[in-house]
């Protein structure tokens, strides 16, 4: 835990300040009590555990003083306090301190999927995720209990499920997303209405024909048997390092499943993997009688959604894309002589899962402050024509810690119904962004606004209200040079009147 993180944590938890250097009195007791939780290896969580443990032990000390017959009560109290602290740590595990998800529910049609897609799952587990596998019709499925979410992420690898078990339904999943949790949905040929509904609610329109799959006679994956060209070698990726990592995916991704389309007006969805111009969506078994409803590069094979609350969703038209078989298989794109030893699927799936579970592309803005040039305190009100500085620190989550975010396109607006000032902020490469400008000659209630929306990154939307007042009565210049003729005129008139009165009254 870095000193900086500790500072951040201390701000939120003032009581913890004194605890940083206090050693745990009973480390072995803590270890046994909080064994399960400490295993996740989340440093900040561990600190919270220490915190609660210290409280518990202090309590027990005060309770130890009374006589022996209080022992029963004491033990009950201990258990109670321990359970409360456990609950607290559970609810705090997804916080701004660590945006990466930790506990993920995986719903599958068939538990065999656990082994057939094991490479993908184990890569997740290796990155520190707790996976909880459940059958999709398991009656005990619940996403939340007592108003608290039990999971941070959900993987729906159950394309054919018509009804979930337990309390889970479309509304519950959408509610899960609307509370900021993440979701991976994989559909497949003959995907159920349930999956299609979830997709439609998020702006993904799967081909309405239930039997249609994506066919591509142009860029199919070459295999031993001449098939119906439904196994596609797709390499039309979105150009984004944030979404797909900085290393380029060389090999095409094998895809076998259904396609979907996006509403171009929808700014929240993105095509990550789109079909080639020769792709179309139709039933491979029947003859094509009418033009396919989806065709060409408007077909999206894999799409991502970033909701307005920064919840992230991946929709894939193919479940097999994540399978061990596709991960390991060789791939040769039709018309290309180069044969890749390994398909791009594993890299693609890993990178996209890193994105969706907020291991990448998650920004936070902290220490938003502003002050007059030459001062450090934040004023409650500015005056027109003041010179001011606006500072904000922006960090990006790298998966393990917050690193300074460096970009040259972060802009701040000084906004009152329309931006009066729009300025690109300079940064010091350590995450500190600064803009200094003059307050416009207009008074009113302004806002400092930073609206930073970049492909793949979480959107930053900062607004801070600040009033701007006109000059006070004594802040104007007392004597204006241009008005000297007027001063002269008035004073000479006064003097003249005095002399005139004197002469008039006292001359005979």
């Amino acid at each position: 835990m870095t000193a900086e993180e500790w500072e951040d944590f201390r701000k939120g938890h003032p009581k913890a300040a004194s605890l940083k250097t206090v050693p745990l009195p009973f480390p072995e007791l803590c270890a046994t009590l909080f064994d399960g939780n400490a295993a996740t290896g989340n440093p900040s969580q561990c600190l919270k555990l220490q915190h609660s443990a210290v409280i518990r032990i202090q309590t027990s000390r005060t309770l130890e003083e009374p006589k022996e017959d209080n022992m029963a009560k004491f033990s009950i109290a201990t258990v109670f306090i321990a359970s409360i602290s456990l609950l607290l740590t559970l609810t705090h595990s997804f916080s701004l301190e660590n945006p990466t998800d930790r506990r993920i529910l995986v719903l599958v049609d068939d538990l065999a999927l656990k082994s057939s897609h094991s490479i993908f799952f184990s890569s997740l587990q290796a990155r520190g995720f707790e996976l909880d596998f459940k059958l999709s019709d398991d009656p005990k499925i619940a996403l939340q209990r007592y108003g608290q979410h039990l999971y941070d992420g959900l993987i729906l690898f159950s394309p054919s499920t018509e009804r979930f078990g337990g309390s889970l339904d479309v509304a519950a999943i959408l509610d899960f997303v609307d509370s900021g949790k993440d979701l991976i949905v994989a559909a497949d040929a003959n995907a159920s209405d349930l999956i299609r509904n979830i997709a439609a609610e998020c702006g993904i329109d799967f081909d309405e024909d239930p039997s249609a799959v994506v066919i591509d006679h142009g860029s199919y994956a070459v295999s031993e048997t001449e098939g119906d060209h439904t196994l596609i070698a797709a390499d039309d990726f979105i150009q984004s390092d944030v979404l797909l990592g900085s290393t380029k995916i060389e090999a095409p991704v094998l895809f076998k499943g259904i396609g979907h389309s996006l509403n171009p007006a929808n700014s929240l969805v993105l095509k990550v993997l789109s079909g080639s111009p020769s792709a179309y969506s139709a039933n491979p078994k029947s003859k094509l009688s009418s033009p396919p409803s989806l065709s060409g590069s408007s077909i999206s094979l894999v799409s991502v959604v970033q909701a307005r609350n920064n919840a992230r969703i991946v929709f894939s038209g193919s479940l097999d894309l994540f399978s061990n078989k596709f991960f390991k298989s060789t791939v040769q794109k039709a018309g290309s002589s180069h044969k890749f030893a390994k398909s791009g699927n594993q890299q693609f799936a890993t990178e996209i899962s890193k994105w969706v579970f907020h291991e990448r592309g998650h920004l936070k803005a902290v220490n938003v402050r502003h002050h007059r040039v030459g001062e450090t305190d934040e004023p409650a009100i500015y005056r027109i024509n003041d010179d001011l500085e606006y500072l904000v620190e922006i960090y990006e989550w790298s998966g393990s810690n917050w690193e300074p975010y460096v970009a040259n396109d972060v802009q701040v607006q000084f906004y009152m119904m329309s931006p009066y000032v729009l300025k690109t902020m300079s940064n010091n490469k350590k995450g500190l962004y600064l803009a200094s400008f003059k307050v416009p000659d207009v008074y009113g209630v302004f806002q400092f606004k930073v609206e930073y929306q970049r492909l793949g990154y979480t959107s930053l939307s900062l607004a801070k209200q600040i009033p701007v007042r006109p000059f006070r009565h004594n802040e104007y210049e007392r004597f204006i040079p241009t008005a000297f003729p007027y001063y002269g005129a008035s004073f000479s008139t006064m003097a003249g009147f005095l002399i005139f009165s004197f002469v008039y009254l006292y001359s005979k």
């Binding site: 959408l174 439609a200 702006g203 509403n263 307005r308 209630v445 009565h473």
Partner: protein
């Protein structure tokens, strides 16, 4: 000052050739001589003065206590809309001091524009109450600011009554003064604006108005520079207090012009007027809200024009005194011809300057005074205010009652004899009658004039009747004396001498101004006053008639008192934030406004913005302490039009407008459930008009079916889809089991079952009078296009089931 006058007098004796100018200053010593010349009646004077003093004291008590009905019947609260703003400003003043008040930039109103309160508010009332509060605190009387504010208006109405006494006394003597003061103390029109809790500018401004007039008349009668200076200061206080000061600065020049035209120019007139213009304009320019308006706007031009005229006239009189009549004639023709040319030139320049500005240099409110149809034609925001409408005839009877019949008699009384002072009162009356006919609010300016006139009339009538009776009694006793001569002489001489003495005293009082005129001016005035004296003698009515007339007058006065007390108790005491209604099962209190504001202040964030029609802006900032978009200070028409447009738009457009203004909550006032008629649906057409004035896509005919405003099933779809309709009638049908009967419009509403997509109801008060809605946040996800229909059909069946299961059925 005194020394100055004395030296002036001494110089006046040494310099006879400037007599014309210096003489009036002798008025003070002359006055003293008159008083000393009648030593026999000094005891009587003393007795009369003491009596008058106690009467005035009682008048003050009456004026104060008749305005306490609101506190007794309701509670000690601030009333209505504007007083809440004044109250808030006063709180700020007492907390932060005068300099912060002066420089106060308020960021909680007119979001996001803000308002410079210090520069846009008439500070008189606030400073007055703040000073009172401070003085009381320094005396260790710990009254709250609210209490001080509540009782400022009654206190100042007592002052106003006393000022009316002084003014009328200057015009027609003590008797008329006392009568006028009594009448003013309880004139319903004034009560309506100055009951306890009605903490508005008018409360102190009427006092300032009358007092300024008094000082003007006093200066005119005495020719004293001391009073002229006081007059300027009083005018300054008036400028501080109320925008109605333009009435003074136009009326007084008009009177001066009248005096000049009728050949009543005197140096007293000059002293009464010239310092007022110079000092008054300088002082007025010190008030931030007036500033350069004091010399820039057309409202003030009349005073400057007359200022020039009076100087020309003064010069003419001066030259006339120097030259021989023949020379003067030559000079006059010369000057007049040159002066005419200059005048034409100046007028042409003025006209050109004024015509170059679009509103001809007049503010909208003043223009609507000159042309009563102006506002309704061009400025809906002025026309939309009910107190800016022309009054109806019954409102005259309601507001001034029997005074309406006494005023003509007063005018006649003022003409006998016509002095400078009485001509001023007549002019004041005539002008205020006109203005009150244009705007109901200016009834308030008319009321003091009516009281003064009626006071004069009543007093004269009393005078005549009692004199006749006394004359009859004295005659009777005389005849008794001759019949039975052995009655003690001391006993019956006293009433006789009484009569004579009172007559003398009355004459003295009456004639004092005219006698002064006589002294100061030339003989031409002397003749009519002598004539009036001779005319007055024979005016003795038969005793039966005068007793009967006396009885009728007392009856009339009694009616007036009864009406006034009724008006004070019943009509004008309701604080309008708490409403009551009497029904067969007792008294109902509707305290919904405060309920709603309390909800806002307890359940919303401090920086949340609340949008409502501007009527409720002041109350929201003062009572709920939340930022509002528009308020009762209607300085920015576009901003109000934006809110009006939002209210008249469909839900989605309205959401966008409100969201762009960072609005979190929308507050509407709805009276349909309890029958409260001044709700937002009744004001809605004004929102449409004001909105449409700036944003032409809002068209009034879209909201009217065949020119009729209706909300029933015949209403236009635009009306039924407007935000105001939806927010007012959302879930309304639940209240009476499916009928949706609106008790204000007396009809069933047009669209009963609907849902809100962009707003959610968060609070509705007990009687549904205030409804508060919250803007829904933007959707977290954007739905797909093609699957929408399909997903709807799959989920539509249960959904429609839920709508049917709603409690509406």
């Amino acid at each position: 000052m005194k020394a100055l006058i004395d030296s002036e007098i001494s110089r006046a004796h040494t310099k006879p050739h400037i007599r014309g100018f210096r003489r009036p200053l002798m008025a003070v010593p002359v006055d003293g001589i008159i008083k000393q010349s009648t030593p026999s009646s000094s005891l009587r004077f003393a007795f009369g003065n003491v009596l008058a003093f106690f009467i005035l004291l009682l008048i003050g008590v009456l004026a104060f206590s008749i305005r306490l009905f609101s506190v007794i019947k309701y509670e000690s609260v601030i009333h209505e809309f504007d007083p809440y703003f004044n109250y808030r400003v006063t709180q700020f003043l007492t907390k932060n001091g005068i300099y912060d008040f002066w420089n106060w930039f308020d960021d909680r109103t007119w979001y996001p524009l803000g308002r410079v309160i210090g520069g846009t508010v008439y500070p008189g009332l606030t400073l007055t109450a703040g000073t009172i509060w401070k003085v009381l605190h320094s005396l260790n009387i710990p009254l709250s600011v609210e209490t001080v504010c509540v009782f400022t208006a009654p206190v100042f109405s007592a002052f106003a009554a006393w000022a009316a006494y002084l003014l009328t006394k200057e015009v027609k003597g003590t008797g008329a003064g006392l009568t006028a003061a009594v009448l003013l103390a309880m004139v319903p029109s004034y009560i309506s604006r100055s009951v306890a809790g009605s903490y508005d500018n008018e409360a102190v401004a009427i006092f300032a108005l009358i007092f300024t007039f008094y000082l003007y008349i006093k200066t005119l009668n005495t020719g004293s520079l001391f009073y002229a200076t006081l007059n300027s200061i009083s005018y300054f206080y008036m400028v501080c207090s109320w925008g109605g000061y333009t009435f003074i600065i136009n009326l007084i020049p008009m009177h001066v012009l009248l005096c000049i035209v009728t050949g009543r120019y005197s140096s007293r007139l000059y002293i009464a007027y010239a310092p007022l213009v110079v000092l008054g304009t300088l002082l007025a320019a010190l008030v931030p809200v007036v500033g350069f308006n004091a010399v820039m706007t057309s409202e003030h031009f009349a005073s400057f024009l007359v200022f020039i005229v009076i100087h020309v006239v003064a010069l003419a009189y001066y030259i006339k005194g120097m030259l021989s009549p023949k020379m003067f004639k030559v000079a006059a023709t010369l000057v007049i011809s040159v002066g005419l040319v200059v005048c034409i030139g100046v007028v042409a320049v003025l006209v050109a300057v004024v015509a170059s500005s679009p509103t001809k240099g007049w503010s909208g409110r003043s223009l609507s005074l000159l042309d009563p149809t102006y506002a309704s034609k061009y400025i809906p925001i002025i026309a939309s205010v009910s107190e800016h409408q022309p009054p109806t005839w019954p409102s005259y009877f309601m507001d001034i009652n029997v005074l309406a019949f006494l005023v003509p008699a007063g005018i006649i009384a003022c003409f006998s004899p016509l002095s400078d002072a009485s001509s001023f009162v007549i002019l004041y009356l005539v002008m205020s009658v006109y203005f009150s006919g244009v705007m109901v609010r200016l009834m308030l300016v008319f009321a003091p004039a009516a009281c003064i006139m009626s006071g004069i009339a009543l007093s004269e009538a009393f005078d005549v009747c009692t004199r006749s009776i006394k004359y009859y009694i004295s005659k009777l006793s005389e005849s008794l004396q001759t019949d039975a001569g052995d009655i003690v002489p001391g006993n019956n001489t006293s009433p006789q001498s009484d009569v004579i003495k009172t007559d003398k005293k009355d004459d003295l009082l009456k004639e004092r101004p005219s006698r002064k005129n006589k002294k100061k001016e030339k003989e031409n005035i002397e003749k009519p006053s002598v004539k009036s004296k001779t005319e007055k003698r024979p005016l003795v009515l038969p005793v039966e008639a005068s007793i009967f007339a006396l009885f009728l007058i007392i009856l009339l006065a009694a009616f007036y008192v009864i009406h006034s007390v009724w008006a004070a108790a019943e009509a004008y005491s309701a604080p309008s934030i708490v409403l009551t209604s009497h029904s067969h099962d007792g008294l109902h209190v509707f305290d919904d406004f405060r309920e709603a504001y309390a909800w806002l202040s307890h359940n919303t964030e401090v920086d949340d913005k609340v949008a409502s029609w501007w009527d409720y802006g002041y109350q929201t900032t003062a009572m709920a302490n939340r930022t509002v978009i528009v308020d009762n200070n209607t300085w920015n028409n576009t901003h109000i039009a934006t809110v009006g447009t939002a209210m008249s738009s469909p839900e989605k457009d309205a959401w966008q407008i409100f969201n762009s203004l960072d609005v979190k909550y929308v507050l509407v006032v709805f009276g349909g459930l309890v029958g409260y008629p001044s709700d937002d649906i009744n004001k809605f057409l004004w929102m449409v008009r004001i909105g449409g004035g700036v944003f032409p896509h809002i068209k009034e005919p879209d909201y009217l079916r065949d020119g009729q405003y209706r909300i029933d099933s015949q209403a236009t779809p635009t009306m039924l889809n407007s935000l105001m309709y939806k927010l007012s009638y959302f879930r309304f049908v639940e209240t009476d089991g499916g009928k949706g009967y609106d008790r204000v419009r007396r009809t069933e509403i047009g669209k009963k079952y609907f849902k809100l997509t962009h707003f959610e109801e968060v609070f509705t008060t007990h009687h549904w009078m205030v409804r508060i809605y919250k803007l829904k946040p933007q959707r977290n996800r954007i739905r797909g296009k093609t699957k929408k229909s399909k997903s709807k059909t799959t989920s539509a069946t249960p959904r429609s089931g839920t709508t049917k299961r709603n409690p509406w059925h």
